[in-house]
Symmetry: C2
Subunit: 214 residues, 2 copies
């Protein structure tokens, strides 16, 4: 008898789907209870599975966290794609990209914590470092393409020094995001109305030829 | 016989001095071999002491690392004091303060790694969070005072929005420093001639009243 016959419910388990589900559960836990709450046991429970099933997919907490980091990176890519598909000005897209990085709600707070955790890991672990460098590169590319497209349409000045403007905007958002989860002064600042838009305007205005000496 | 008599070498140990010496050894190890190399055993060996003596001062690796963080913060304060005492323009002082944060040599690379490690700790641990918030506050105060003194002397325009300029400069330097130890593109950028001076100029130029819309 062919294996496929006589089995009414297909026993093919979509392993990739299960890994995603577990990574999502880890992200949900981190958002709700902080990164320390993301254990293999708690993540399995969050999915209604046994720890044994989870161990089949991730052999350690660190592997689970790595999967959560990759998942966070993929979700961030989807956010970028949604923003770019929007019928908005380049300036509004740059602002939305910057806001998507800032810890302004529990979901983004969890993502910022996860990225900070892996930035620190990346200082010692090459796998984490490569993952973070890739995340920074994709973020920079999206900013860069958005500035260039705004320049082509005439919305943004042609003389913006794109690479330095993009680097400044990224570094400022990255630094402000990490500082905000540690320092109430920084959190208050990024929560001010229009903070991200001002970051964008300043980065674009500052990186043009001519003396900036004050 | 009085305890003080008959003892030619005073047995009074300067405990604070020993703690500092161990914290310095931990920083030296981190600079030379990375944060993973900072174990209690290696730090004791670096000072020529037994692990037993070290354990008398620090009961765990994490306590030793915390002492290294506080020491790094104190050294950073001494750096600020040296910069402020210099007979230089406000702009040059702001540049020197910013450069002191960037991982441009092995010593600052080690400090950046230690701060990144404790930023990540601070997301979960209140003691580390308070330590980092204090570090950010002292850094901001030094930047703020320098801008104000440059304004009083007429070197810097009176209409700079000091708080936002200072926040932007700090966030940019912090983000760029962390990105640089993970991403070669970022490291190349911060190593460019005049990078810190441009950060300062941009932060000062961008945070003035009037439309920055490009």
């Amino acid at each position: 008898m062919n294996e496929r016959e006589g089995v009414s419910v297909p026993k093919v388990v979509d392993h990739e789907q299960r890994r995603l589900e577990l990574a999502d559960a880890a992200l949900a836990l981190a958002a709700r209870d902080g990164l320390a709450a993301v254990t293999t046991r708690a993540t399995a429970a969050e999915c209604g599975w046994s720890t044994g099933v989870l161990n089949h997919y991730f052999s350690s907490r660190n592997e689970l966290l790595s999967a959560a980091l990759r998942r966070a990176g993929d979700l961030q890519q989807q956010t970028y794609a949604r923003i770019l598909a929007d019928n908005a000005t380049a300036r509004d897209k740059l602002t939305a990209i910057t806001e998507s990085i800032l810890p302004l709600d529990p979901r983004r707070l969890a993502l910022t914590r996860i990225f900070l955790f892996f930035y620190a890991q990346g200082a010692a672990d090459e796998g984490a470092r490569v993952e973070i460098a890739g995340f920074l590169d994709r973020w920079r590319t999206v900013l860069h393409d958005t500035v260039c497209s705004g320049q082509r349409s005439g919305e943004l000045p042609a003389d913006i020094q794109t690479a330095s403007a993009v680097f400044a905007l990224q570094a400022m958002a990255d630094g402000a995001a990490f500082e905000a989860i540690l320092d109430p002064v920084a959190m208050d600042t990024i929560r001010q109305d229009g903070f991200a838009a001002r970051c964008v305007d300043h980065a674009l205005a500052a990186h043009r030829p001519g003396p900036h000496h004050t």
